[in-house]
């Protein structure tokens, strides 16, 4: 590949502008850190941290950044299609942005947002001092960050993937996608996928083995349950993606024949493997949102969650069913009636446990004294909008009808109606709900609510017209259309809604700045009058989480203890064992990043040298003697006193 080809994307003015802004941004950050002499602080407190709360905050920060990167893609798409025969983007650029929009939003926005929240909250909610493997947790984050960085780099160097986020073969093969775009795809997703798999192992071990004394499985908060199930799906679904991506890399870069059109290859096998992972992935991003809504609805309806056992059962059933439905993503591939019938039935069956959950939430609110806080608004908005998404999903589940909807905007509208009220509302609700726990001050409610209303209303303005357009036959992924189709007005409406959505998200970010400037500090520990253990410790949370690990006898122990005037965190303070910070995960992932970057361009010798660096860090870690450290009783008492005294 010549230099000219490598930097080819820069010939596009918009990409050049994006590239320049990235470089300028990086220079500003580096200069700022140097000028304020914050490098040491930054490395010691963030880059080398193993504290689950800080890792969670970093995940959420990356997720918000990617929300904007993916959001700009979305706005550009809506702008391009707002009027017929528009020339804002050419076909290639349009292909790249709908591909990266999908990848970023699912894998680098929804996933890290969910993983960030679980990092911050889960150990607190189960009364643990950390996750099971704090260093592995840092490795997970930095591998994810490396994958995220690599995918974003593709935009500037060599060209982004352009075969859709599903990257179907033969389109994604070298014959039809000769640029390095899809090499970036396989390698960037591989890096972050390995990180996610490790997160899965880590959180299963954490939740199974590290709960506070007395907290049996059926006394766990619903969010913890949802995260346990989510991580089980992660551990068993992500290896399929690992294999699929490896085969893609082999096909594209080593000339194998897995998905080829000749020599026995089977192009649709890629689609099959992709969705064997891809459908469980949908539940990986939606189940945590269900957990968050369960917590928030119970807290702000001031009632215990209705139907706890049926909630748990329905999630277990969803986790099993999520592995049995994947072929509904390609009903029109041409397999027989039997296959389509079986997958139709399993797909419709998933609506049953999901329906159970919706009714449980409604019954939780019945006779409750509902407080309309920002997180609660998201939960309330979620129920009706998500139901529209669910019902259109059942329409799509019917194989014979799907021949009509397949690959139209109807499908696009459906999955946005599921993923935005489900996942995005869910993580935003959780973000507003747990923000005071993370930082010790609240987000401004007025701005928060304004953001919610902009998003909830404009979401419908953006996506409802797409249902109608889809039924009228408007195919997805078309970069433009002619005026005679009549698709213009509804597309324009959708674009206007998109601008409104952008305003809503801008308000959410402005709220960070505003609240940081103006909201009172030293907020009390239990800002929402909550029910679960995370509200029993200080805000912001000290490094060791709980000076004394609480004992639990029933669900919502903290809530009942408050009613009875008991302090469940009282007890004798002992010295606390904590892991040491380490820079190894950061540097190791750096070498992983380099290896993957060189591999994208088939530069195998530097790639191998970088991998030797990775193995070097593994060996270093294996031989390292590091048994952690103890925080003395005096130190814990002093911290507790200062945190209490401030209140």
């Amino acid at each position: 590949m010549s230099m000219e080809e490598v930097f080819h994307p820069m010939q596009e003015p918009m990409i050049l502008a994006a590239a320049i802004s990235i470089v300028v941004g990086a220079v500003v950050i580096v200069a700022g850190l140097t000028y304020f002499k914050k490098w040491g602080y930054f490395y010691k407190n963030w880059l080398s941290t193993v504290d689950h709360k800080k890792i969670g905050i970093m995940y959420i920060a990356v997720a918000l950044l990617m929300l904007f990167r993916g959001g700009i893609d979305a706005l550009l798409m809506r702008a391009q299609t707002a009027v017929p025969d528009n020339g804002l983007l050419d076909a290639q650029h349009y292909n790249e942005i709908f591909t990266t929009h999908g990848l970023l939003m699912i894998l680098f926005m929804a996933m890290p947002f969910v993983i960030g929240l679980m990092n911050v909250v889960i150990p607190l909610q189960i009364g643990a001092r950390d996750v099971a493997f704090p260093r592995l947790n840092a490795v997970s984050f930095w591998l994810f960050a490396a994958g995220c960085g690599l995918l974003n780099l593709s935009f500037i160097i060599g060209g982004s993937p352009d075969a859709g986020w599903t990257a179907y073969f033969p389109l994604a093969g070298t014959e039809f996608s000769p640029t390095v775009g899809n090499n970036y795809y396989s390698l960037a997703l591989q890096l972050s996928g390995i990180g996610t798999l490790m997160t899965g192992v880590n959180f299963i071990a954490t939740i199974i083995k590290m709960r506070a004394p007395g907290m049996t499985l059926m006394k766990m908060p619903m969010f913890t349950w949802s995260i346990l199930i989510t991580n089980i799906i992660i551990v068993f679904a992500f290896p399929v993606l690992t294999v699929a991506l490896a085969l893609m890399m082999l096909d594209r870069q080593f000339g194998t024949q897995f998905f080829a059109m000749q020599n026995g290859g089977m192009d649709m096998l890629w689609a099959n493997l992709f969705w064997v992972w891809g459908h469980p992935e949908v539940y990986i991003v939606i189940l945590p949102a269900f957990g968050i809504f369960s917590e928030i609805i119970a807290t702000f309806a001031r009632k215990n969650l209705y139907g706890y056992k049926s909630m748990v059962m329905s999630m277990v059933v969803i986790s099993l069913l999520s592995f049995l439905v994947w072929a509904h993503h390609f009903y029109t591939m041409g397999h027989g009636v039997m296959v389509n019938s079986v997958f139709s039935i399993t797909t419709m069956a998933i609506a049953v446990p999901t329906g159970v959950k919706i009714f449980n939430w409604l019954l939780t609110m019945r006779h409750g004294k509902i407080q309309f806080t920002t997180p609660m608004l998201y939960a309330l908005g979620f129920i009706p909008i998500f139901t529209i998404g669910g019902v259109t999903g059942v329409m799509l589940a019917m194989a014979s009808a799907d021949y009509q909807y397949h690959n139209t905007m109807f499908l696009v509208a459906h999955f946005h109606y599921v993923l935005i009220p489900g996942t995005v509302f869910g993580v935003l609700a959780g973000y507003h709900y747990w923000w005071p726990k993370m930082f010790g001050f609240r987000l401004n409610e007025k701005l928060g609510k304004a953001g919610f209303w902009f998003i909830a209303v404009c979401f419908n303005v953006t996506f409802f017209p797409l249902f109608i357009l889809g039924l009228d036959g408007y195919a997805r992924r078309m970069y433009t259309y002619s005026e005679s189709t009549g698709y213009g007005p509804l597309n324009m409406l959708s674009f206007i809604g998109g601008i409104g959505l952008a305003v809503g998200f801008a308000l959410i970010v402005y709220n960070i700045y505003y609240s940081w400037k103006h909201m009172p500090r030293n907020e009390k520990a239990d800002v929402w009058d909550g029910r679960t253990l995370e509200w029993a410790t200080h805000s912001p949370v000290p490094e060791y989480n709980f000076a004394v690990v609480p004992t639990v006898t029933r669900l919502d122990e903290y809530w009942f203890a408050k009613k009875e005037g008991r302090d469940i965190t009282a007890g004798k303070i002992e010295k606390i064992h904590m892991p040491n910070n380490t820079g190894t995960p950061f540097w190791m992932s750096g070498f992983f990043f380099l290896a993957a970057f060189f591999a994208v361009f088939n530069l195998w010798i530097p790639a191998i040298i970088s991998m030797i660096g990775v193995f070097g860090f593994m060996i270093h870690r294996s031989f390292e003697k590091d048994h952690g450290r103890y925080i003395s009783v005096e130190e814990v008492m002093a911290t507790e006193k200062s945190l209490r005294g401030d209140k």
């Binding site: 089980i232 679904a237 399929v240 064997v276 397999h335 027989g336």
Partner: protein, 94 residues
């Protein structure tokens, strides 16, 4: 010297060698494909169980229920992936 070779392990090894020999029958004797496939399935699963139970001591820790669940769940997902893919891509393909 004797205490270095616990009975359980020696028996397990003998058993796994025996199972290998039984599996070899499918290439040494003439039989129907279904019969051969059945033999392979039984011997392979028995081998896996020998390793899991006798060598890896899956039942020895306090978490044995969770470990069995984990392994069964992964086998469920694995079998669904294999059979489901063959169903969708070969057996049920027009």
């Amino acid at each position: 010297m004797k205490e270095l070779f616990p009975k359980q392990h020696v028996m397990g090894f003998g058993f796994s060698l025996l199972l290998t020999v039984v599996a070899l029958a499918v290439v040494k004797f003439d039989m129907s494909f279904n019969m051969a496939f059945g033999i392979l399935l039984v011997t392979a699963l028995a081998q896996a169980t020998v390793q899991l139970v006798l060598f890896m001591h899956i039942g020895e820790s306090e978490d044995k229920k969770t470990l069995y669940t984990t392994i069964l769940y992964s086998v469920f997902v694995g079998v669904v992936t294999i059979l489901g893919t063959l169903f969708a891509m070969i057996w049920g393909y027009n």
